[in-house]
Symmetry: C2
Subunit: 359 residues, 2 copies
């Protein structure tokens, strides 16, 4: 490539990166303010005041607010006013927060976004109930859509939320039951199914669909996001699994290699199983099946070095990259009829950032 | 009272009892069938099939289905067609079931409706997630109301559910935090506040309001049920606390004196504290504050015999009876303008049964 074209491409990439950074910064500021304004903050009874503080805890922690960003971006890309999608986008972030509270209990996790999990701070009973409290507020937030979007579209949004909720609890059950039943004979297809349900529906499929719905997009366009969102969501989950193994704890905000401690079935691990020798596989099962508290640092390092030996992490990273490229190609092809605008142009940088992030 | 009048009153009471029994039997059969038809039952993946079985577990256990009964009865009393309230009434029962699943985890309970709790059968992670799955289905069920009730009323019903949900998680938090903080300096007012939020909103206030709303009742009539429902709901909770202490396990379906094991603050216990000598109160605190697994049968019997000595159970029973009488008087007075019909006449027998039940 001639030097002046190379410079042009580079400066285009940097310009995109700056616009994206600015966009994500704005979304985070505004969504956080909206949610914290919506959630109750003060109560005359000390006990209830404590519940309110618990409900406001995770929403105040760091995080990228990728789901609301995706929803707002797609709304704008389809010619909608992102303001009308704002309440719905915020509800996606509330969803993420109640899911994380319950997920941390289910996995017995220690850290979330760099701080002790809610169950570590308050114990399981109060944390479980605070998750329920936040869950209920999500539906209350969606109820507001009657005034913002009118009854018809507000009910369509509710239908999307019931659909994605049903998906996420099924995906979560699949993952938990693999650990519970000590099941290891898993294929990449099993991982795909679990990830689409556990992650893709609420992380990418529904945020994009909701953006399109609130913009008044055609049903066929809304439905294209199922295929695109599956690729994106699984790519996102793979990258999350990779960061769990090789990320910086201070950046990533969770215990590094926590998935090994928790016995999680990831694409990295499935690749390792399909690549390593029988005796190595037996050893990995032996370690992974141990109770969390009985896994030593040496155990975890043994699994990590096998992953290194068989390049399982590099394999997963390659898969994630291929999936996001596929999603971008699908997006460009399916929505060639949508006029170019700032939002449409930001979609590809946003999803690439989401999957290539290092935190 | 002359004998022939006495006979007439008795035969009226027995006739009411028979009509009530028949009504409750019909509600149970139809609501159970509706819920089990609504919930998913079969899935090609074994793991998801297992989740569906967990979701269908509590709804298939025994129980009185009092909340749907109250909703359907009030709808009919206000001249509505109970068929239009049916989906909403069923959602109240789904609510009760997901609340019980999470409640059993929070309290570390063993038995529910005569069988091991879901968390005892499957462990906390899977049970917690199954509760969430059922919770999500409740909102999906309410989404159906768009077609049954039209958008306007369906949104009103959603607003009631968000309101009662916010109440119930706050009430639950208050109760859990009393145990967690080992707080004992509680008054009857504290108990009242906790019970109204934890129990009355979803057990009596909202079921009655929803029945009235689906019948198209005036807002003032709908609002009268707040006062009536508070008295009923607290009376119901007091009776539940009493049965927990003196019921038959085979009938009541939970561990007898489980509330003492779990350190629950009940009206019976608050009365005991306010009546007994200082050294006795110290001893009760000492026992109640023990970890569940460290409470012996002798400990529990010691508390029970103090409750007997100070007639705390009899006191609570008297309070429950007075509250239900108050609610009945309010109902008769507030709704004198509603024409007599089968449903209106069944309200008082139903609520008396709910509070005087022995299971």
């Amino acid at each position: 490539m001639p030097k002046f074209i190379q410079r042009k491409v580079q400066s285009k990439v940097m310009a995109d990166a700056n616009v994206l950074k600015e966009f994500l910064g704005e979304v985070k500021t505004e969504i956080d303010a909206y949610i914290l304004d919506f959630l109750p903050s003060e109560h005359a009874r000390d006990e209830v005041q404590c519940l309110y503080e618990m409900m406001r805890d995770y929403p105040q922690r760091s995080g990228k607010r990728l789901r609301p960003a995706l929803c707002l971006l797609i709304c704008e890309a389809f010619g909608g006013d992102p303001k009308v999608a704002f309440n719905t986008a915020a509800a996606l972030e509330v969803l993420q927060n109640w899911l994380l509270i319950h997920d941390d209990i289910e996995d017995g996790s220690d850290l979330r976004r760099g701080e002790p999990c809610l169950n570590q701070k308050y114990g399981i009973p109060l944390a479980l109930n605070a998750g329920d409290a936040l869950h209920c507020r999500m539906w209350e937030m969606l109820h507001r859509n009657a005034e913002i979007l009118g009854h018809e579209v507000a009910f369509q949004v509710l239908a999307e939320f019931t659909c994605l909720s049903n998906q996420v609890v099924e995906g979560q059950h699949i993952e938990l039951s693999w650990v519970d039943n000590n099941r290891w004979n898993l294929t990449e297809d099993d991982y795909w199914t679990m990830c689409v349900q556990k992650t893709a529906w609420y992380t990418s499929i529904a945020p994009c669909r909701l953006g399109a719905i609130t913009a008044g997009a055609a049903k066929t366009d809304v439905d294209h996001f199922i295929e695109i969102g599956k690729n994106l969501g699984v790519a996102f989950q793979i990258q999350d699994d990779v960061l769990n193994l090789i990320g910086e704890e201070s950046q990533y905000g969770k215990e590094i290699a926590g998935d090994i401690s928790e016995g999680k079935r990831t694409l990295v691990l499935i690749h390792l199983f399909n690549s390593c020798a029988h005796d190595e596989a037996d050893r990995v099962v032996e370690i992974m099946a141990k109770n969390r508290s009985r896994k030593s640092l040496a155990d975890i390092n043994e699994v990590l070095s096998l992953m290194d030996k068989y390049q399982s992490i590099a394999y997963a990273q390659k898969r994630a990259k291929a999936l996001v490229e596929e999603a971008c190609a699908q997006f460009a092809q399916r929505f060639a009829h949508i006029p170019d605008n700032r939002a449409k142009n930001l979609f590809i940088p946003l999803v690439k950032f989401a999957v290539e992030r290092d935190y």
